[in-house]
């Protein structure tokens, strides 16, 4: 049974890799199988991890009198059901309500965290080393890094000013900012490519050792 699974996985891997040559029936087969299976799996997962534990079970517990608090679940359930209003052309405007609630809730939950992680934390990280410079605990190289960091942050932030025209000194500062961005992107590119090569090696390793290994084990 395990060998059968290895053969299916190897066949589908080769089908997907055949796209590197051109679009072909093998790729199309694997693509449609992959999309179809993941949609089916997604629906089953939504029912078992979403609908049953979050909606059905508490509501049923309320109906049979075990936990009346379950009736509160009717509020989100009704809001969710409004998505089905789309099926009726006369009532499709009702869809706006769950959408507005979701976007409003999502933004409200996200913005404070973004402030905390991207503004407060990073501002602190940028200025904190200068306290160590005052204390005299940083080496020459570390002082250079701290200064480079503040220059990079100020220049890059200048690039993202949209309501001011970039000319004169602002233009040159934002150009330095773009240079910092590109150096950062270059570094990220190299790192990610290394990660992707590792994934390729893993897959080739599967084909050579597991799949071809299973063929040789037959003889």
């Amino acid at each position: 049974m395990e060998v059968f699974g290895i053969w299916i996985a190897a066949f589908l891997t080769l089908c997907i890799y055949s796209f590197l040559y051109r679009d072909n029936p093998f790729y199309r087969f694997a693509e449609h199988l992959f999309v179809g299976m993941t949609v089916g799996y997604g629906i089953a997962r939504s029912i078992h991890q979403g609908f049953i534990p979050l909606a059905w079970t508490p509501l049923w517990a309320a109906i049979i009198g075990e936990s009346p608090a379950g009736y509160f679940k009717l509020i989100p359930i009704c809001i969710g059901l409004l998505f089905f209003a789309r099926l009726s052309s006369r009532h499709s405007w009702l869809v706006s309500y769950p959408i507005a609630i979701l976007i409003g809730f999502g933004s409200g939950a996200m913005i404070p965290n973004a402030f905390q992680a991207y503004i407060f934390e990073q501002t602190r990280g940028t200025i904190e080393p200068f306290g160590s410079i005052h204390a005299g605990t940083l080496s020459g190289w570390e002082i250079f890094e701290a200064v480079l960091m503040i220059v990079g942050v100020v220049c890059t932030l200048t690039y993202f000013f949209f309501s001011a025209e970039h000319r004169g000194p602002v233009k040159w500062i934002s150009k330095v900012g773009i240079a910092f961005l590109m150096i950062g992107f270059g570094s990220a590119f190299g790192n990610t490519v290394m990660g992707r090569v590792a994934l390729l090696i893993q897959r080739v390793d599967f084909l050579i050792n597991d799949w071809i290994g299973s063929i040789s084990a037959l003889f």
């Binding site: 679009d23 693509e31 992959f34 993941t38 407060f120 410079i133 992107f185 990220a188």
Partner: protein
């Protein structure tokens, strides 16, 4: 016959041995044990604290015991290391009172219990006092945005600098119209509450207005069923606003799959078979970014990408014709629509950046002078 002195010596040795063993094996009971409802939480935990034991008391660890109403004392969690002075019990139920005992365990497994704490319940707080500073900054920031929106609505001209990638939007749509091919708009893998996805959907609204005018097919494969609903609503509204409801085709906006690589495989297949003349990749992207961008490049489509995912931006810059970097994605809507609300919002955000500038420069100067109250404040709110 044992002499009296020998008896005395034996007794002394025995007493000393027993005394030593007792002092090593019997730990001191934890003192000042308190159990309080954990502040600033949703009522799902209780924090137990006790004083640190003095050194050489032979304590090897602490075990927390919990009692519900008149029930039995039951140990919860694992044995805590000797230096521990606090424990958060996160396995509680609302409306139930709990009492706690902290048991000190010695190296010889001897135990001694603390006094039992008074009963305590977990209750949720409406306001997280630790986030007051964030709240104030957000209020200031919101006030700046609202002020600028009113300013823009009152007719004041608000400047938005040139963003090259967005100037190519009309060129891309025009090219697709001339070639008689479709436009593919990919929103990536973000959910409906993701900032990049919301920005991508808003740009889509602007693109849809132009495709409605030019009668160009706009195809949007979605990864999230809720995003699908929002996108359909936005595109439909754009077509209605342009007076072209007849040109709107709901089937062109469809759900593909939620799985990342199945979505990439599906979109790749669409790109190869339909050969769209223009591809917009705007939203949240992960490892599939280069797969999509390279496939789009291979069919010769003009590609305009935009994302806030720093690790994917290099791939878009390498494989696409134009890329909106980070916040340019958020500025795009204002740039394309020239709507006073978006324009005012952009200038309000710039005011926020000026505030960060001020904090950075002031912070650096103060730190260099040995004054660190800005970093202390930032640390407190982080």
């Amino acid at each position: 016959m044992i002499k009296t002195t020998q008896w005395v010596a034996i007794c002394l040795v025995l007493c000393l041995s027993v005394g030593t063993a007792f002092s090593q094996g019997e730990p001191v009971a934890p003192s000042n044990v308190t159990a309080v409802d954990t502040p600033n939480d949703d009522g799902s935990s209780i924090t137990i604290k006790w004083d640190a034991a003095a050194e050489d008391t032979g304590i090897s660890g602490y075990q927390i015991l919990r009692r519900i109403a008149d029930g039995e004392l039951e140990p919860i969690g694992d044995l805590l290391p000797a230096g521990t002075t606090a424990y958060v019990d996160s396995a509680i139920e609302g409306g139930t009172a709990y009492t706690y005992v902290v048991r000190a365990v010695s190296e010889t497994d001897a135990t001694v219990d603390s006094e039992q704490t008074p009963a305590v319940e977990g209750t949720g707080e409406w306001f997280h006092t630790g986030k007051t500073a964030i709240f104030i900054v957000m209020l200031l920031f919101s006030a700046a945005i609202v002020w600028n929106i009113y300013d823009a609505r009152s007719g004041k001209d608000i400047f938005v600098r040139r963003i090259p990638g967005l100037e190519a939007v009309d060129e891309a749509i025009g090219r697709a119209t001339e070639m008689g091919r479709s436009i593919l708009y990919v929103l990536g893998l973000g959910g409906v509450s993701g900032a990049a996805t919301i920005a991508g959907m808003t740009i889509l609204g602007q693109v849809a207005r132009r495709t409605a005018d030019y009668e160009t097919a706009l195809r949007v494969p979605c990864n999230d069923p809720i995003v699908l609903n929002v996108v359909r609503e936005m595109v439909k509204t754009a077509y209605l606003d342009e007076g072209r409801p007849d040109a709107y085709n709901e089937d062109n906006i469809f759900f593909l799959t939620e799985s990342q690589f199945a979505y990439a495989a599906g979109v790749d297949g669409m790109i190869i078979r339909e050969k769209p003349a223009a591809i917009f990749l705007q939203g949240t992207f992960y490892a599939e970014s280069l797969i999509l961008a390279e496939t789009g490049n291979s069919v010769g489509a003009i590609q305009i990408a935009g994302t806030t995912s720093e690790s994917q931006l290099p791939f878009f810059i390498a494989a696409c014709d134009y890329t909106l970097i980070g916040e340019e994605l958020f500025a795009a809507t204002a740039y394309l629509s020239k709507d006073p609300m978006f324009l005012g919002s952009i200038r309000g955000q710039d005011w926020g950046k000026l505030l960060i500038f001020a904090a950075l420069i002031l912070g650096v100067l103060l730190e260099l002078s040995g004054i660190n109250w800005i970093t202390t404040l930032l640390q407190r709110v982080s």
